[in-house]
C-alpha cells in the first residue's frame, strides 16, 4: 500500500517537474522520504552541471559562458554539501520515478541542444535554464522542503532554494539580453 502511494506520488512529482510552473499538493500520507528527496535534489543539481558543461563546450558568448561557470561552481558546492550530509546522517539516496523522469527529460533536452550552435544555442540553453530553475524552485518550496523530516536536510534545501532563486533571476536577466 505504502509502495503504491509512494509510486503515485513520485509520478505526480515527476509530472510537476515536466510542467514548469505546476504545483504539487503536499499530502503527509504520500510525501517523498528523505532518501528520495536527497536523490531528487542531487539529480537536479547534477543535471544543471551537465547542461552547463555542454554550454561551455558550445557557446562562445562571454556572458553565457560566465553564467555556465557560475552554475557548475554553485551546483557542485550544493551537491558536495548534500553528499557530506547524507554520509553524516547515514542516509543512502534512493533512486525514484521523479529522479528518473528528471534525468530522462534532461537527456532529451541535451540531445536537442547538441544540434544547435551560436546564438540559437545560447538562447535555447538560457531559456531552458529559466524553465528548469522555475520548476526546481517550485518543487523545492511546494514539495521537497515541506516533506523533508530531517532538520539539517531541510535547512540545506532551504539554502539551496535561495541559491537557485538567485540563479533564476540571473538566467532571466541573461535571457532578456539574448535575441
Amino acid at each position: 500500500m505504502l509502495r503504491i502511494h509512494l509510486h503515485s506520488h513520485a509520478l505526480g512529482l515527476a509530472a510537476a517537474f515536466m510542467l514548469a510552473g505546476a504545483t504539487m499538493p503536499v499530502n503527509a500520507a504520500d510525501a517523498p522520504t528523505d532518501p528520495q528527496i536527497a536523490h531528487i535534489a542531487y539529480t537536479a543539481g547534477a543535471i544543471d552541471i551537465e547542461a552547463a558543461k555542454q554550454a561551455l563546450k558550445i557557446s562562445k558568448d562571454a556572458h553565457v559562458r560566465a553564467f555556465a561557470n557560475d552554475m557548475v561552481r554553485d551546483h557542485q558546492a550544493v551537491n558536495d554539501k548534500a553528499l557530506a550530509l547524507v554520509k553524516k546522517l547515514h542516509v543512502t539516496p534512493e533512486d525514484n520515478d521523479t529522479s528518473k523522469a528528471l534525468t530522462k527529460q534532461a537527456d532529451a533536452e541535451r540531445a536537442k541542444l547538441a544540434k544547435l550552435s551560436g546564438a540559437a544555442f545560447d538562447k535555447a540553453y538560457v531559456d531552458n535554464e529559466v524553465a528548469f530553475h522555475k520548476t526546481v524552485d517550485d518543487a523545492l518550496s511546494t514539495t521537497l522542503i515541506p516533506s523533508s523530516s530531517n532538520a539539517e536536510l531541510k535547512k540545506l534545501l532551504q539554502t539551496g532554494l535561495k541559491i537557485f532563486e538567485g540563479h533564476l533571476k540571473h538566467a532571466e536577466h541573461l535571457a532578456s539580453t539574448l535575441k
Partner: protein, 108 residues
Amino acid sequence: MRTQWRSTAFGLLALLAGCGVGMAGAAVRVTIADLAFSPADITVKAGETVEWVNNDFVDHTATAKNGDWDVMIPAGKSAHQKMTKVGTFTYFCRVHPDMIGTIHVVND
C-alpha cells in the same frame, strides 16, 4: 595595564566596526551569511575600505551597479575594496542578484 588598554582599544574598534561606521585606517566589515549582506546598508568615509566576509559555502560577488567595482568573494574567504568616490552606491551579487547592499561614502 598596557594589555588592558590594548584590549579596550580593540573592543572600541570592534564596537565601531559593528555599527557600520568607518574609522580611519580600519576596514568596515560586511558579513555574508545565508545569501544576505549584513549590515546591508553602511556608511564609510572616502578613502576607507569595505571588507566582505563570506560565511556561505558558495562564492559571491559585490558588484557596484554603476560598474565602478566588482569584487569576488570566494566561499569561506574575505575580500575588500577601497571606497574613493563620495556618493551612494548600490551593489549586488552577480551570481545571486537578490543579494543587494548599499554603501554611502561621505566626505572625511
